[in-house]
Symmetry: C2
Subunit: 457 residues, 2 copies
């Protein structure tokens, strides 16, 4: 009987040893930075009630939820004249970490001390059409603080981004924008409903030029006075401070439309404070105001962040922003929060592309004891145990088989040292260790652990 | 409008900061031991094709699988006259880590170098009726080696159990049995189909006494000569070596039935080799032959392991055994493997009960900079950054609010040190740090990082 070779659902992945070592390296680095800022980890269940998930990601998002069939007889008592899915599925797999976080905060509000600084690294599932770089199961890595409106929180996120990528050796640009400023632009252009169009226009200036942008704005229905305001915004230039001053003048009613914007001014205050804090804290990677940053305009209410690798073309590898009403959907209003999410898969690709993974990740065991027979095996067992107790990863080949096979095994697992011992070594109470990279070989008294450790370094 | 307080599906859990710190401590300890033996981590998707999962866990297991509704319109083209579930669900959540591991080995057999030593720490899902200590989502923590029949593998599992629980500070008893010996008992009792009954009988001797055991065996349909053999087995006593010798005699045809058992003899050889290796490698926790150990009799073919905490009553906290045909179900026969699984939830309960979690897990941040105003904030930011760069977890309170509130925050997060700085400190370029446990307080030059680090130790 031919058995079909097994496979996994499309859009999902197995991670082998090498990928896991690399992924753990990324997660451990991120985790250590989060911890150094006092952020603490939580985990939520893979399954949430659909009542928690539905309606939180738009109509499209609802369709992309993986639903779990009710256990037992899912069709018992079902009315076949009504829509079936809601009757047979009460649970779904989490779609992101944000909604479960909001649910967590509301559910545990009496145990939490605010401001609540949490991080969460867990997989999420989306029934997206799988394609290159888009999976149906992938890890998200979110860090948020909720219950404080202070710009110190935004600063900390920037500091954490800086620390993570500095530790990983990746040069990044940290782009910052502010939703209130974008709202201000739309307000003084007399088109408060055209925030997205205006932000997109700002982004297009370099590519299509001023005239084309103005044409496009007209097509989008912007009045002449509004277009004149857009032109003023597009001509913003100079240092951060100079841009800030120009924008302040515009928001104070000095734009072509003569309309002012309180919201825009608030946004400028936030930006000014944040950039002031950033320079006080000295961040090593470049941070820049990016007025074209238009991420999450449906839910962000203040700062908007995006991080790009400077030496590898891949789009955003990290992003986030401030939201003012995340927990409102679950009945707990007026909690402001700010957070960012690290894109583990893209960071993985950047580190791979730039060859930035430490070589030490490749070979987890350091030494293989080859085995020639039962007596030789018993002879090396205590030595192996001592080395492990001293913190060295050591393998003992489990079979007294051909040496060629044992060497192949060391080679495939990239184990850099091999120890082969026979009757001579046993009589002399020595262990013979060979560096498979340099070819250097040496015999040590079996009891001389320090010398062996030094050789294995 | 009253919004219902959100909840999570029954049988699932949220893990807060404290629980996560403790769980990570357990997993990190286990992981470090696995690594020191050259085992490497893999991860498989949460979802597997139902064709991979169904029929692997018995009829009851099939019912306990969580099935995932096909995405898109799951009911499109469905024949309502046929069973619906198979038509609308192609995927299920993994039920354990063993079947996905077998699937992984078969699918990736050409990339793997055997013997393949892997570990895997991931959640599994079962639609069991939730009850105390039984969850619908829980982590498994499995370590296996596949592709080698050598008892060195069994030894390593014992060594790893020993190392993990020694590191965690838990005294355990490691119980070992062998499926072939149990088969041998049934064979020489003339009842090869009664392995379970006979093993249960051995287990009951202490509780109900010899006569009752014999009665029960008769009820189970064992012949008189078989019962006489059981009596011989129950009378096995003495040291490990003496028991081994007595069993060898029985399996060589010296039992009351006169029947011998090749399989039983093989099992004894394995046990003898394994216990010899264990004493050569010197294992610190007690290891014992336990002929009543009857775990996994449907799939184990050699060694059977079970680990119990000696100072906390909770049942088995770790168990496993050798299986000869795990990958046969997916078309790759003749690969023998052996593995164990650590029960994370029970280990958590043991460590909690015995108060063995290190106190250091409780307070992840070490120091809180209280904040009195914008200038004071800017003053401490670089100091906080330097301390973090030196490896100390530090928080800066994000708001210039009442000191009482900031002290409460430090208290709730168990942050042991607080630093409060005002105009005096700023003028003198010092930082003032207070140990909240001892009450000791000291001012340091802001630039004297070594002195500050020493105080925070």
């Amino acid at each position: 009987m031919a058995v079909q070779k097994p496979s996994i659902p499309k859009g999902t992945r197995d991670f082998g040893q090498k990928e896991m070592a690399r992924r753990n390296y990324i997660f451990d680095t991120i985790r250590s930075v989060f911890c150094s800022f006092g952020y603490q980890q939580i985990e939520t269940p893979a399954m949430e009630n659909l009542s928690t998930l539905l309606g939180k990601y738009g109509e499209e998002g609802d369709k992309l939820l993986f639903r779990i069939l009710n256990s037992g007889d899912a069709f018992a008592g079902v009315d076949f004249d009504k829509p079936l899915t809601p009757q047979i599925c009460e649970k779904g797999l989490r779609y992101d970490l944000t909604v479960p976080f909001a649910r967590y905060v509301v559910q545990h509000q009496n145990e939490i001390s605010f401001p609540f600084k949490r991080y969460q690294i867990q997989p999420v599932w989306r029934a997206d059409r799988p394609q290159k770089g888009r999976y149906r199961e992938f890890y998200q890595c979110d860090v948020d603080v909720i219950g404080s409106r202070s710009q110190v929180n935004e600063l900390e996120l920037v500091q954490m981004v800086d620390a993570v990528f500095s530790k990983l050796g990746v040069r990044v640009g940290i782009h910052i924008n502010n939703r209130k400023v974008l709202t201000g632009f739309a307000e003084i252009a007399g088109a408060p409903d055209k925030v997205v169009d205006i932000t997109v226009a700002i982004d297009k200036l370099d590519k299509i030029g001023l005239e084309k942008v103005k044409e496009e704005m007209a097509e989008k229905g912007l009045e002449a006075s509004g277009i004149a305001v857009i032109e003023q915004i597009l001509q913003l230039s100079g240092s951060f401070e100079e841009k800030l001053a120009s924008m302040r003048a515009l928001f104070q009613g000095g734009s072509a439309s003569g309309i002012g914007s309180e919201e825009g001014l608030k946004g400028l205050d936030e930006l000014e404070e944040l950039f002031g804090l950033i320079s006080a804290a000295s961040v090593s990677q470049p941070v820049q105001l990016d007025l074209s940053l238009a991420r999450g305009l449906n839910y962000y209410t203040g700062a908007i962040f995006e991080v790009k690798a400077l030496d590898w073309e891949i789009g955003s590898i990290c992003g986030g922003g401030r939201y003012d009403n995340l927990t409102g959907i679950f009945g707990l209003p007026d909690l402001s929060g700010v957070g960012i999410s690290f894109g583990a898969d893209r960071i993985y690709d950047v580190l791979t592309g730039l060859e930035l993974f430490p070589a030490s990740l490749e070979s987890s065991p350091r030494l293989l004891f080859a085995v020639m027979g039962a007596d030789e095996l018993r002879y090396v067992l205590p030595v192996a145990a001592q080395l492990r107790a001293a913190g060295v990863a050591v393998e003992v080949y489990p079979e007294a088989t051909k040496l060629k096979k044992q060497f192949d095994y060391a080679d495939k697992k990239a184990i850099p040292f091999i120890s082969i011992n026979g009757s001579n070594e046993m009589e002399a109470s020595t262990v013979n260790i060979k560096n498979l990279v340099t070819g250097q070989q040496q015999a040590f008294p079996a009891a001389d652990l320090p010398a062996i450790l030094k050789f294995l370094k």
